[in-house]
Symmetry: C2
Subunit: 417 residues, 2 copies
Amino acid sequence: MARIVVKFGGTSVGDPKRIENAAEKIYQEIKRGHEVVVVVSAMAGVTNQLVDYCHQITPDHTAEEYDMVVASGEQVTSGLMAIALHKRGIEARSFAGWQVPLICSDQHGRARIDDIPPENLEQALSSKIVPVVAGFQGVSRSNRISTLGRGGSDTTAVALAAALNADRCDIYTDVDGVYTTDPRMVPDAQKLDLVSYEEMLEMAALGAKVLHPRSVELAMAYNVSLQVLSSFAPQVGSQLPGTLIVSEDKIMEKQIVNGVAFTRNEAKISILGIPDSPGTAAAIFDPLCAADINVDVIVQNISANGSTADMTFTVPKLDAQKTVEILEKLPFAQQSQIRIDTKIAKISIIGIGMSSHSGVARTMFRTLADHRINIQAITTSEIKISVLIDEQFTEAAVKALHQAFELGKTDMRATGS
Amino acid sequence: MARIVVKFGGTSVGDPKRIENAAEKIYQEIKRGHEVVVVVSAMAGVTNQLVDYCHQITPDHTAEEYDMVVASGEQVTSGLMAIALHKRGIEARSFAGWQVPLICSDQHGRARIDDIPPENLEQALSSKIVPVVAGFQGVSRSNRISTLGRGGSDTTAVALAAALNADRCDIYTDVDGVYTTDPRMVPDAQKLDLVSYEEMLEMAALGAKVLHPRSVELAMAYNVSLQVLSSFAPQVGSQLPGTLIVSEDKIMEKQIVNGVAFTRNEAKISILGIPDSPGTAAAIFDPLCAADINVDVIVQNISANGSTADMTFTVPKLDAQKTVEILEKLPFAQQSQIRIDTKIAKISIIGIGMSSHSGVARTMFRTLADHRINIQAITTSEIKISVLIDEQFTEAAVKALHQAFELGKTDMRATGS
C-alpha cells in the first residue's frame, strides 16, 4: 500500500462530468489498496472569471479581498469531488485551506506555505476518509484566506505530499507527460518516462507548461516523487502512464540531452557602455529586483573600447518597457546606450548527463550554424545550454536540435557525441 | 450616530456594477455618520448554478459537501463588496461565516445559529473598518461550513443586528417595501410605512416574498427594527424610503386590516370518517412532521353521522403525493376516505387591529359571498383570517378584499366596520 497525493487541474475538473471522471481515477487507486489524498484546482475558467470581477470594480483591488474572492473556486470543486466520491461508496470529505490548515504567509496573492500541521488529514486518513483539499489556498496567521498565486494547486499537492510523507504525488493534467519538446511544434516529440527535478525545473522555467516551477522546486527540496499524467487517457495495466520526476540519483542511465525547450515570452535588453567597475551589475539589477522583474540570461562583456562594458539580459516581454524606464534612471544612463529587442526566442537543450559529456555545446552550435541561425547570446549551466536567437527561427531551431540530439520517436537515443 | 446592519440580496449584488451601486448606498450611510455592518447574498443565479452542479453529480449528495459548495457564492460577493468600498476610500474587510465566527448547529443545509461571539466584528468597528459578512453561512462546532437554508442571508443580517445591538437592520432587495397586497395583481396596492412583526410574519408565511419568515421571527425575538427597502430606488432626503417592521407596541395607530395575502402553492387534503377519539390528530400529524411536511390550515369537524370526524388541512403542493402515501398507512386508513385538491388558493387578511374590532370576519365573508366565491375552509388567529377557495378565483378574491378593506392608494383607510 502506498500513500499517494493526486492533484487534478482545472480542465480535469472542468464540469461535473469531468469531476466524475476524475473520481473514477481516484476510485481505481483506492481499489488497488492505496491511501489517497486529493487536491483540486478550480473548474477551468472560473478563476479567470473571478479575477475579472475584481478588475471590473477596480484594477487596484486589495490583495486580501482578491484572495477571498478567487479562493472560492477551489472550495467549490473540493465539495463537488467529495460528492462524486461518496457516489462511488468512498468516504471522503472536503477541506478548504483553513480547515487543513495550510498555514501561509500574509503575502496575499502570492503567499508562501509556512506550515501544514498534518493532524487533521492524518486523522481523516486513519478513519479511511479520503481528504479532498482545495488547492491554491491557505490561511494566514491572522486568519485570512491567502492564495499561493497561479499554478498554486501543484504547490499545494507537493507540499501536502511532503507534510504527509506520501510515496508519490500524481499531477493529473490535460497532457499525458513531459515531452522532449512541444509536440505541437515537433510531432515527432517523445514522451519521457523519467526526468530529474533539475531537468524538469529547466523545462518548466523555459516554457514547457506542464508543471509550475515552484512545485518542482518544492518536490526537489523534500524529495517528493512527482508524476505527471493525463486525466483523460485510460491507464494501461499497472504501467506508469505518465512522466515520473525524481531525484537525479534515482536515475541510473542519465540522458545526455533529454529535451529542447523554448520560449518567445522574453525580450532582450542591452545596455552598452556601462562603467567597467565593481557595483555596476548591482546598480542595474537591484532596482529591477525591487520592481519584481524576473531577469534571465545575463551576459556581460568588455566593450570594444576596453574601458567600459556591455550588459545583455532578458526580461518577460510584459516588463520590457518598465525595465527600460528603470534603466534610464541609472546614474550612468546618460553615457550608455539602451537597446531593446522583443523579437527574440530563447532555445535551450537540457539534460543531466550533459555535465559529464563534452561536445554537447559543439553539436548545438554546429547544428544552428548549419541552419544559418545566428546566436545572439549564450548561457550555460550544469544541465542546460540556452541561446538567444531571432524569434522567426524558433521552429527551425527546435526541430533541428531535436533531430541532432536524436530525441524523436524514430531516432535512436543519443549515447554521446 | 446609529449602528446599522445593511443586507443586500442577490439581485442587488447581481454583477460588479450592482455591487458598486450597493457600495454607494453604504457610503451614503457612513457619510451620515452611521456605523455600518454589511451582509451580502450571492450574486443572483450563482447559488442555483452551484446547487445544480451538486445535483448533476447526484441528487443524493451529502449535506456537508453541498454546504461547502454553495457557501462559496456569498464568499465571492463579500470580497467584491469590500473591494468596492475600498475604491470609495472606506476601510472594509470581508468576513466568511467561519471568520466572524457565526457558530451554527451541524444540521447542514438548514443550520440553526447557536452563537455569534461579537469580538471580531466589534474590533473591526472600533478600528473604523466596515465588516462585510458573507450571508447564509456559518461554521459548525466541528469546524465545517454550514448553511442556514434558503433566505438565510436575511437571517444572518438580523442575527448580527441582535448580536451587535444594532439600532436597525436594513434589508435591501428588489422591491421597495411591503405592500397591502401583490402590486402585480392589484396595481392599486399601497406600500406600507409601518407593519408589526406579527403582521409581517403572517404576510411572509402567506406568500409575500419580501422577507424570509425566519428572519422576521428572529427580529421579533430580539426586538430588532427591520427595514425593507429597494437597492434600486434613489433615497429621497432623510425620509425612510421603505417599510419599517417593528414591535406592535411601537405602532400607535393600529390598522385593522393591513394587507391581503395569498398563496397558490398549497394543496388541500381531506381525510373523512376518522375515529372521533383522543389521539387521532396526533396519529395523523406525527408522521407528517417526521417527514418534514409543513402542515397549515387545520380544520376538524364532526362528520354527518356523528360518530366519526372529518379532518381538512393544507400542505405544500410538492408534498401532496407524499402526504397521501403517509395517510394511506394509518391504522384507520381502511375505514376512512382520503381526498386531495391541488386547485385551491389560500387568501388571508392580516392586521394587528383586528383582534379588538368585531365585524372584520363578517366583511370578509360577505365580500366573498357577493362575488359568489365559495369558502372551503376557514381558520383564524388574533391577527389574521384565512380562507381556502377555488384557485381560479384568487385574483377576484384578492381584488375584492383589497377594495372592501379600503387598502388601495385611492381609498380612504379603513377605520373599523
